[in-house]
Subunit: 336 residues, 3 copies
């Protein structure tokens, strides 16, 4: 219902207040986090890792969220993110209702997102995870209901739980965040993952290398913001140019569907060579001890033979994602 | 399989027998209800409201339907109705299996609806909620299986649980049904909701105002039937013409997808001005103490600013829907 | 990612080793079974039948798989197979996560199947049931993860749990397998069901009649293999030609969607008369005491009036399928 929405603005970064108390909080943006509340999330994430081990050993799910209900509303499908949240809820003893088929449902009747989430709240639902193509949609949903909303990805906007699991993985793999150098490689323009992760890294004392073709560079306003916050940044167009060693090599997938949606033929034409130029080879891996990360799904950036290298951390990222999401569900429901 | 179905007739109103004993009954039509069995449903619905409060306080789901399984088969998708039934089953301790993607499944292999529901019955399923585009489909399903079938909406046919929750809401908001005046406004021709609700209201001593453009009037045979049953009916083309006060103002959404399916270009052309003519304004609300109801999803009929008026009951309808569905599941399974 | 897959071959029959120990085994092909391990499955299947009866009597699900999680990944939708597995898991006390909408999900981002199943394994998942259009996909999945994978149908490849439930039904209906005669009728070329069932029957002392139009004959290499194994085979083009009595009449649906995908216009043109020629009539049923089986969904092969004949076993097949799947889940998880 466009007319009712016209007066609304896309939420600006400054709109996101730091989380001081997780109970009842919405998780909408990486910008709600600081070192203090990140340390709370990461401490609980470790606890969740222990709970998962115990579940497998004792074959008994936990009961922290017993009597609670999660609704996963995925207007923009993502098997990985949806099943990760649903598993997290099951592991803590809660129930799930789910809609992942919304292109055929209320959405086609022109229903307002606000109405959908209000209705779901009325089904004795305690928390909503929303994924939606429209930037700012999770904020709109959060404002409409009294229960916590977690942003499971809002188009080109944010995907804060991905950023949190990325940072948690870096801390776990490198044993620290302060003092490390992170090299981010690939499509840095449209990849919301690298934007949010770069923001979180700026809360620490880090160096970042951005490696991308000129037409897919990290947005300049974000680069400036990161520099103002004290991050030492270098930009390159090829990984060969990065001569100093780094601790983390973060790959991104080319967001072809987003680039296509935006009808950027010049970029689309340039993408042909991109796959080769910004792909990982066993030679690159052999040269460096850097932890290799990727938000998945990968397409051609990382060949299968890299998976067996010990520094290939992208599947450990997935596992950490489950723990982070368990921690967030428990925290915002005030039960861990 | 058209040839096997040719001999079948669309179920006629007279085909629906009154429910005398809920245990094992199919819920297919509003026409199965009379004042007596409605009072049973409404009494149990109040009990369910108490159970829901207790669930939230004690964080423990009920166990009335523990060991039972519900199958939701939604050939025609509806997030609201499906999640409402699934929540109802979870609240009472039962399990759910679900298919809401059936346009891509057995349906495309030309499978008979009878076979699908028989198969689902054989999966130790205790009750089926079916939503289907075809009028009369829930009757066909109910005839094919030995377990109860609840009609979750059969195209232009019926949506009896919506009618029940509407009537329950009226009783709860007005503290009575006998003696009230209900104004129904909008698309009264294609809106199955208003047809079923008008039928249920005819079991009581009520006045009804029908307000619609001439090309979307309440079907004349239904108007005649209601009059024969003693309902005092007035028809209008604009809400301004309704001079006497009323207790309930029931809005409907224009069923654009149904009108489009039926290829009624004359009506489609007329719909442009419809949105403005049959929309609610704060001025209309301010003039009357009438309870405002809407089956949702709304499109443009009710602006968001009306939501905060105390008489705006459409979200309370949703909540009552959960209670009504819990009551029906419990009643037909003989467990409450 | 075609380039990474090019070096791979479609798994060949000889690749499938016999299952000696069910715990941890993948169920990918009927060719993993011999008389010995089939007798284990069938013994456990009978146990499961008893458990299902107890569940209905006592209204309490079993707890053999309590603390375990099944993921159903249905890239190629099938309501029947998916709900059968999910019900089986629920009956034994386990939890389910599910993706049946994968045409809109990771698949469209070009994700490798290997990556998807690895990710799902990392969600504390204990077993995966995969359905996929691509032949050999379940083998690819099984090789990628450390947890058991059950093939829920891989295109024209195999659907081993269907073959197992078919054989179990034959044993139950005929009280034996050795010594019986089975007549298979319909599309014997593209029907994976009849291929797998014929293979399993070849482990016993049986006669098989194949009845099909010449352009939909059982593949000659399979016929030869069966003959080498000692099966007495006769081929016909019409059921009228089968003069000797038989114990089982196994019907198949014409796989029109597969024939269409393969663009075989000559066959498609011939199919017009097929429906009449290879359909069952009450006269055929009246002439024989043979058990009538069909993998469902039927289209026009079996008229509804046959359903009430006592020898119509196709709905009992469905019910046996639930028991067989419960047995397999319990066996490969080492809990029954």
């Amino acid at each position: 219902m466009v007319s009712q929405r016209e007066s609304r603005q896309t939420p600006q970064p400054k709109d996101f207040e730091r989380i001081r108390n997780f109970k009842g909080a919405d998780i909408l943006s990486a910008r709600q986090f600081d070192r203090e509340n990140l340390s709370v999330v990461f401490e609980k994430t470790e606890t969740m890792e222990g709970i998962c081990k115990k579940i497998r050993q004792e074959r008994k799910f936990a009961d922290h969220l017993s009597g609670y209900r999660l609704a996963t509303l995925f207007y923009d499908p993502s098997t990985r993110t949806r099943l990760s949240f649903e598993t997290a809820m099951q592991n803590l003893g809660g129930l799930v209702i789910s809609e992942s088929n919304t292109q055929f449902s209320s959405a086609i009747k022109g229903e307002l997102l606000e109405d959908t989430v209000r209705v779901v709240e009325l089904f004795n639902t305690d928390i909503i995870v929303l994924r939606h193509k429209e930037v700012g949609s999770s904020r709109i949903a959060a404002d409409a209901v009294g229960i916590p909303v977690i942003n499971g990805g809002d188009g080109e906007g944010e995907h804060p739980t991905q950023a949190l699991l990325d940072l948690y993985t870096i801390q776990k793999e490198c044993k620290k965040i302060d003092g490390i150098t992170v090299t981010m490689l690939g499509d840095l323009k449209y990849g919301r993952t690298v934007h949010s992760l770069a923001y979180l890294l700026s809360l620490y004392d880090v160096k970042i290398n951005f490696v991308s073709p000129s037409f897919l560079r990290m947005p300049s306003d974000l680069v400036e913001e990161l520099r103002r916050k004290g991050v030492k940044i270098n930009e390159f167009t090829s990984l060969d140019e990065v001569t100093e060693d780094y601790d983390v090599l973060y790959f991104t997938r080319v967001q072809k569907e987003r680039i296509k949606e935006k009808e950027i033929p010049a970029i689309a034409a340039n993408l042909q060579g991109f796959d080769q130029l910004y792909a990982l080879t066993p030679e690159i891996v052999a040269k460096s001890r850097a932890v290799i990360m990727h938000p998945l799904p990968r397409v051609r950036e990382i060949p299968l033979e890299i998976d067996n290298f010990p520094q290939a951390a992208y599947f450990r990222q997935v596992q950490n994602g489950l723990y982070v999401r368990m921690a967030l569900l428990g925290l915002v429901l005030g039960k861990i």
